[in-house]
């Protein structure tokens, strides 16, 4: 399937497939809630636990809320969390990586050892402890998960910087007397972008999954918010009578993550030859 997706003339097929899928999902997430006749927390208590029908396309949950609407809202929350967490990890990780790769020496050692320390802890444990302690909210979840991903992002930025920083344009900039921050962001960063973008797309999927686990365990957003992990967790009590309450958010999660993964893989295939041509 990988070969199938990476075939195609200029732009890999995977890109198109994944891109279209993601576009549809994002579109649904944005206009769906606005178009839907229901609110995510609107109860029709007498219609609770009903299977999919003309009135409720994907059924209702134990409070009579429309499952499709809630899943769409959940898509919003998850995409926002995923993107924010990735943004956090990039904003912190990329400069660190660029600095470590460019300056090398002591700075590099210190940064990498510190990251090794962070990565030595079981990730779920760290996230659990922090989440258990603070008030759950979308921002805090995204921030904590983002911090978790900083080491990998830094590693990627650093390794590409190590390769590129010996190039002529960097030496020229140094000879001109440019400041370090200029060199980092104006010269090195553009070259580091392709692998960082690929890494970023991977991180978005992980962020969505980790956030779902957190809310499943009860340490993420609280009810009546319609987050996927939370929906599935609350659906456990009704698995026998109303399995759709659990399955629908899971399917949404699956589609979203798969589409982002395909795009990410497509990006990797697309950018790889480019990187090879740039003479790495």
């Amino acid at each position: 399937m990988m070969d199938f997706l990476s075939g195609g003339r200029r732009v890999p097929r995977g890109f198109i497939v994944g891109g279209v899928l993601l576009f549809v999902i994002v579109l649904m997430a944005i206009i769906g809630p606005a178009v839907s006749p229901y609110e995510y927390d609107q109860m029709h208590i007498m219609d609770r636990l009903k299977p999919p029908s003309a009135r409720y396309w994907l059924g209702t949950d134990e409070f009579g809320r429309d499952v499709l609407t809630r899943a769409l809202y959940g898509t919003q929350t998850s995409l926002i969390t995923g993107v924010m967490a990735t943004a956090v990890s990039l904003v912190i990780g990329v400069p660190l990586g660029l600095l470590a790769g460019y300056r090398r020496g002591i700075i590099d050692e210190v940064i990498m050892r510190f990251l090794d320390l962070v990565m030595a802890f079981p990730p779920l444990m760290l996230v659990l402890l922090v989440a258990a302690v603070t008030d759950p909210s979308v921002w805090k979840t995204a921030f904590v998960v983002g911090l978790l991903f900083v080491p990998s992002v830094t590693r990627v930025a650093r390794s590409i910087t190590l390769d590129v920083s010996s190039k002529e344009f960097v030496e020229a900039a140094e000879a001109r007397g440019e400041r370090t921050s200029y060199i980092l962001f104006a010269e090195l960063l553009p070259n580091a972008l392709p692998p960082i973008i690929v890494e970023g797309s991977l991180r978005v999927t992980f962020a969505i999954l980790v956030a779902a686990v957190l809310s499943f365990l009860g340490f993420g957003i609280q009810p009546p918010a319609s987050d996927w992990g939370l929906m599935i967790s609350q659906a456990r009590r009704f698995l026998a009578q109303a399995p759709w309450i659990a399955i629908v958010p899971g399917l949404f999660m699956c589609l979203t993550v798969v589409s982002i993964s395909i795009i990410g893989d497509g990006l990797r295939e697309y950018l790889d030859p480019r990187m090879r041509r740039a003479g790495r």
Partner: protein, 506 residues
Amino acid sequence: MVQQSWLMRLTAVLAIVTSLLLCWPKEVGAQSKSTLVASFATGINSLDPARFGNLPEYSYGNLVFNALAYIDEDLKLQPDLAESWQTSDDLKVWTFKLRDNVKFHDGRPLTADDVVWTVQRILDPKTGSRIRANLQIVKSVTAVDRLTVRFELNGPYADLASVLADYPARIVPNGYTDLAKHPIGTGPFKFVSFVPGDRLVAVKNENYWEKGYPKVDEVRLMHIPEMSSAITALESGSVHIVADIRPESISQIRSGKAATVQSVPSGTWMGYVMHNEKPPFNDIRVRRAFAALVDKEEVIKIASFGTGTVTHSPIPPRHPYFLNEVATPKADLATAKKLLADAGYAKGLKLKIWYPSADAEQERLALALREMAKKAGVDIELSGVPNDKFYGEVEGKESLATTMLYGRPTPDTQTYLWYHSTGSWNRNMWHYSNPKMDALLEAARAAKTEEERTAIYKDVQRTILEDVPGIVVYVKAISHGVRNNVEGFSVSPRAWLELKGVSLKN
């Protein structure tokens, strides 16, 4: 080709093994020894009776221990370790006569010293016992002779025997400090092992003092937090009794096939708590407005899937003192709106209602209030928080919250601590204070005849309806899932499991 045959061989082996395994018998108790398995959704925290606080702990307490008296299914007091008791005229001195020839599981005989030790232990703040507040009325407890115990109280108290029948007042051996590790009691079963989060195992006490009991050889109390897993286990036979089935899961048991659901109304009540000292509920008109806009039948349908019973105070509907003469009013929106307008909220009122997010029934309770309040122009926002935050920071401090409370054994223990201005629960919930109520509750404690007490407690209930310190909406039904081959089991309104008379039909 090569890989295929290798793979096919592997698949064949896996298939054979899997089908073998799936054919193995799953029913527990198919051996010569009869083992009764019960499952609970919450776990046992402590094996020390003084620390008991939840259903599986009370059920384990019934297995391994006895108290001086016990309360049967008709809510009547019966002797247990105490054969008889009497009280002085002023209800301040109580004398209990213990049964002779009762032995603890390690062989030592039961004496009055054990009772003294048990009660003193509960009263000691370092033990951390939950019913310490209920036994504060005890001034001293002494062993008069080997089998006689005397209690001297601080004030007249008609219900001492009932309080001593309560869950944590299980009699433990004198001077024994290892209760949490190796519990020893006088009960029908002997403790064997406890794995937290998994199970507790107890075996038949061959020397139990009550002849003919217990009927099974072994009891296992399992901790299965997922209700659907527990019900599946019930249907497949690995569990015989699933305790405390949530109302929403009752329909999962396809009735009759392998198991049925047995229920009775319990003493556990659900309601709304309003802070009587903070706005807006410091104004009695607002409290009465809320009482008017709540349609109790509607709340029951929403919150308990129709399994609850309407009530208006912590005194249970089946109790002889229950105020039956009050018809359950339907919601009276006009009155509610008028009262709110009188109190200055004609333009509407915005509030938050707090509830512990782990309890789905309380969440539905909050949602029900929100729906009903909307019609009267009150906008309620839901705020669910984790348990520790709820009990640590919310209850007793915020204006509006939900509550669920286990039933207590007597009308006094059901009401005093909640409605008397010095009551510890009162100070932690609605902060209600009315000298008339205080006087009624104190008089009830000293009342000598049943008629007197009935009349006083009916007045108490009328005062609750007038003052609306909070709104007690309904009592939960307690339902257990029971396999068809279980005999001798009946549901106790106290919600715990009483298993000594239960046997398994094979």
